[in-house]
């Protein structure tokens, strides 16, 4: 599970302001301009593949701040982003399992290096069988030793510092749970784990992190040194130190012979470490599916969303994106000769509740399920999508959003269990002993723990008044919260809005390791999380989870989350998601779409184009038509 940080928009207001002032596009055209469907989350559509493939170069817009700064597949936390992995590293080195099919977060077997694994010994032994169709670009076969090489180097990396692998969770998953690994033959990797795991979780969330690395070319401690036995931990450390050092030399990415041995669809031929621009040419040895004529990929960096959008309007980039603030200018983008498709991220955006904030007995208030339900009833998700996202967003009522739909989407992920209703919120409060004062501040009139009473730890006269600390950029965060607070006031809930920079909000309201500011915030909003394919909230809503910034604790949630990670039921995560959606450990908000635009002369598999909304780049499945 990775954190979703709202994109930083340096001049977010610029395009909107300009559009308004110049009369370039009326905001009112937004909804009718695109095929907006707030239920599915889709914005626009992807046409079927068409046209005759032609050779050429596809230019692709790199978002501001997403220039690659690391090339080794073991990516440190400081360099780990969806861009560094999905748009750069995966082009060169493929993972064992590809967990994206169009907009659906499911394993794409055609794009995976290995067949689905088998589990034995009470789910403590995993057997992975590699496909033989994939080869290294120097002609060598990809073997199970290459997968083992990754695991041994990963162990060496986190042994030096836990920060050396962005996806590392101490004691959980790879490499810590792997007590031994063997390669009985060239295509089989057998892992023995320290305890039983949920097979689906381990395959979709852990094994998908494994990117086989060419041991025959990389297992050395210096550029001209001999190939070492990487299974020896001392050698593994030397090798990691060497590879990490080379990976830190960003200026040599395109020239270092190490990085020319690839198994992905592309090979790097140019890299500018000042701007982040790079060029990749097709790897003729690639063993996966491709279009008839794979285009060269040229990544064009942009310093701001505004600059990128100007490039789109100038019709100078083949594949780009439309910033959320520019959605009202949809007609201009289409007129410039682009297709448009947007879809929400597979994840969730939240207003985090602080279950440890004792200010005004907030911890006891928010500990009451009916209060959280009332707060959820006060959120008009559909209204927010229409008004603030200009129709380009998807609904989300829990950790599994309504869109994209996954095999693990529970029923209450698709139908809002707490639909927008001010009267329903008022009824919940009244029926639990609150004196509801619309426009004022409601107070607890019936303290106690019995039916119809406010609940444990809430004395008479307690006020429903608390603060929410939120990031001031992008504007849609504040817009949603302002609207929410306004509706809350109608049932006497006073929410004080306090905005700050991302750094400030995170420092104050998301530091479970050092809760010095525990009583300074009741609620906070700084973004959310991108789900892994198997969408467990392990680490987020389990007691003591490393990302449990709100100190939520619930034995039943812990049990369900634990079952998702260690149980044998492949659908355990569905029960976990259903429970958390009902329990509302935080306020779940709608997710904005990531809107991809591409020129009319770019075509290919629709799923590949759709997957770009999930930050996956599969230009090897696309082609140019002129």
């Amino acid at each position: 599970m990775t954190v979703t940080r709202w994109p930083r928009t340096l001049v977010a207001c610029v395009a909107a302001a300009t559009a308004t002032t110049l009369g370039l596009a009326a905001c009112s055209t937004s909804s009718s301009g695109g095929s907006v469907n707030s239920t599915t989350g889709a914005f626009g559509s992807v046409p079927a593949a068409s046209g005759t493939p032609q050779a050429g170069t596809i230019t692709w817009a790199e978002s501001p701040g997403s220039a690659p700064t690391w090339i080794l597949p073991i990516i440190p936390g400081a360099d780990f982003t969806v861009y560094s992995t999905n748009s750069f590293n995966y082009e060169l080195w493929r993972p064992l399992y590809w967990t994206q099919s169009g907009v659906s977060p499911t394993i794409n077997q055609a794009l995976s290096l290995a067949y689905l694994p088998t589990y034995s010994d009470g789910d403590k032994t995993v057997t992975v069988r590699l496909k033989t169709s994939y080869k290294w670009s120097d002609g060598q076969p990809i073997t199970s030793k290459d997968a083992l090489f990754f695991l041994d180097e990963l162990r060496a990396a986190v042994g030096e510092s836990a920060a050396n692998f962005g996806s590392y969770t101490p004691g959980v998953g790879i490499p810590d749970q792997v007590v031994s690994a063997s390669t009985p033959n060239a295509t089989t990797l057998v892992l023995t784990l320290n305890k039983a795991v949920n097979p689906t979780w381990f395959t979709e969330n852990e094994l998908q992190l494994v990117q086989p690395m060419p041991a025959h070319a990389w297992a050395k401690a210096s550029a001209s040194g001999p190939i070492l036995d990487f299974t020896n931990p001392a050698n593994a450390k030397k090798i990691y130190d060497f590879l990490a050092k080379e990976s830190g030399s960003t200026g040599t990415y395109a020239t270092n012979p190490l990085w020319q041995v690839v198994d992905g669809p592309y090979r790097l031929t140019a890299f500018n470490n000042t701007t982040g621009a790079y060029t990749m040419v097709p790897n003729p040895s690639y063993g996966g599916p491709t279009s008839k004529i794979v285009p060269t990929l040229q990544a064009i960096p942009f310093t701001s969303d505004t600059a990128e959008f100007n490039a789109v309007l100038a019709h100078s980039i083949d594949i780009g994106y439309m910033p959320q603030t520019d959605v009202p200018q949809l007609a201009r983008v289409k007129a410039a000769g682009y297709h448009v498709f947007g879809y929400p991220d597979w994840g969730f955006t939240i207003v985090n509740y602080n279950f440890a904030d004792k200010t005004g007995d907030f911890n006891n208030i928010i500990g009451q399920l009916y209060v959280r339900q009332a707060l959820a009833h006060l959120e008009d998700e559909e209204g927010y999508v229409k008004a603030f996202f200009h129709g380009a967003g998807g609904l989300a009522y829990g950790p599994v959003p309504a869109a994209p739909v996954s095999p693990y989407s529970p029923a209450n992920a698709l139908t809002n269990p707490y639909p927008f209703s001010i009267s329903a919120a008022a009824s919940l409060l009244k029926s639990h002993g609150w004196n509801v004062v619309p426009g004022g501040t409601s107070t607890c009139a019936k303290p106690g723990t019995g039916p119809g009473e406010c609940g444990s730890g809430i004395p008479a006269g307690t006020k429903l008044a608390f603060n929410v600390l939120y990031i001031n950029d992008p504007a849609i965060v504040g817009e949603q919260l302002t609207n929410w607070a306004s509706d809350a006031k109608k049932v006497g809930i006073t929410i004080a809005l306090q905005s700050g920079t991302f750094d400030h909000v995170v420092a104050v309201a998301n530091d479970p390791a050092s809760p010095k500011t525990i009583d300074q915030w009741a609620m906070s909003s700084w973004g959310g999380f991108t789900n892994p394919a198997y969408p467990t909230t392990f680490g987020i809503f389990n007691t003591g989870g490393s990302s449990n910034g709100g100190f939520y604790t619930d034995p039943e949630a812990d049990k369900l989350i634990n079952a998702s990670v260690t149980g044998s039921n492949p659908n355990a995560v569905k029960a976990e998601a259903a429970y958390l959606t009902a329990q509302q450990p935080s306020l779940f908000q709608p997710n904005p779409d990531f809107i991809v635009v591409w020129k009319d002369d770019v075509s290919g598999q629709p799923a590949a184009i759709e997957a770009m909304t999930q930050y996956y780049l599969n230009t090897e499945l696309m082609y140019l038509t002129k």
């Binding site: 340096l10 590392y168 990128e308 100007n310 910034g549």
Partner: protein, 315 residues
């Protein structure tokens, strides 16, 4: 003069020391734990602790500061842990781009502002003066990004004469000769600067025109061209010298918004990005170099003033 230089140098050292302490403290207040910014809010506790230890952030800030100063005195500006490059190399790659954009803009603004200001002073309250004043006010009041976007819309998208973005090459020669890509950023920035400079120049020239020595020069029959060039220009230009001195740091700071809108990665943008990622070494180095340029700019302005006006003596 020597005593003055020594005094200024000593003051500069004190100022730079104060700036370094202040910035170091401020960064620790703003980013109490840069590890969370660098590794992301999801980072586990072990990663945060080990990253902080790896980069010395687990030590008291005084120790961190002294270590930083020590490496600074050894010519090491630090290493960016977000961009995996030394700060010196990051600056090296970008400063010429920023300096070129800002330098050309500054030069053009001054060169144009001088005759415009003098013209306005000499033709004060005429139609021409009113037109230029109106233009200056409109440009001065306009948010810079708005001017950039209008220019791009008109001259790069609607009528595609120029490029919508700055040059993407790292070769300075290519950048200098890429007029299609550099015209819009240079013209826009020049217009924005010109609006302010021309007002200063006009004001100074009006004061100078009223001086007795101008009247005397005219009375003795000196041609108007010589009056303006010999007597008016030199004296009216004095406030501009101070203004130009204060603009020297812009050569480093670049023009953040212009760089962002015109897709022109320079130092200003590097600083902005580093703020978002709590990249301490870049932020510290940038701020310190900025402080040095402020001191140097002011000093250069003082020297230039004495050259332009011998009545001013540095004591």
């Amino acid at each position: 003069m020597r005593a003055y230089l020594i005094r200024r140098a000593a003051t500069a050292i004190v100022v730079l020391f104060g700036v370094s302490v202040f910035i170091f403290l401020m960064l620790h207040v703003i980013y109490p734990s840069p590890a969370i910014d660098v590794l992301g809010p999801h980072a586990n506790r072990l990663s945060i602790a080990e990253w902080n230890a790896q980069h010395g952030f687990d030590e008291p800030w005084v120790v961190q500061y002294l270590r930083y100063i020590d490496q600074l005195l050894h010519g090491n500006l630090g290493y960016s842990y977000k961009l995996n490059q030394s700060v010196a190399s990051l600056f090296q790659e970008r400063w010429l781009r920023s300096a070129y954009l800002s330098g050309v803009t500054l030069f053009l603004s001054v060169v144009i502002a001088i005759p415009v200001g003098i013209y306005q002073a000499v033709r004060r309250n005429t139609f021409g003066d009113a037109v230029v004043t109106t233009g200056a006010f409109v440009t001065y009041a306009m948010p810079d990004f708005f001017l950039y976007l209008i220019a791009i819309q008109l001259f790069a998208i609607t009528i595609p004469i120029f490029s919508y973005e700055g040059p993407q090459t790292t070769s300075m020669v290519s950048i200098i000769f890429d007029w299609r890509a550099m015209t819009l950023p240079i013209v826009c920035l020049t217009l924005l600067n010109l609006a302010g400079y021309s007002r200063y120049m006009r004001s100074a020239a009006i004061d100078t025109v009223a001086q007795d020595y101008i009247k005397a020069a005219r009375a003795k029959g000196l041609p108007e061209r010589l009056v303006l060039l010999r007597h008016l220009l030199r004296n009216a230009f004095l406030p501009m010298i101070t203004l130009i001195g204060l603009s020297i740091p812009d050569l480093l700071a670049g023009n953040l918004i212009a760089e962002a809108v015109f897709n022109y990665p320079g130092l200003g943008l590097l600083f902005y990005d580093s703020l978002g990622t709590a990249d301490y070494p870049v932020l510290l180095a940038y701020t310190l170099v900025g402080a040095v340029l402020v001191v140097v700019g002011n000093f250069a302005a003082d020297i230039a003033l004495t050259v332009a006006d011998p009545r001013i003596r540095l004591v």
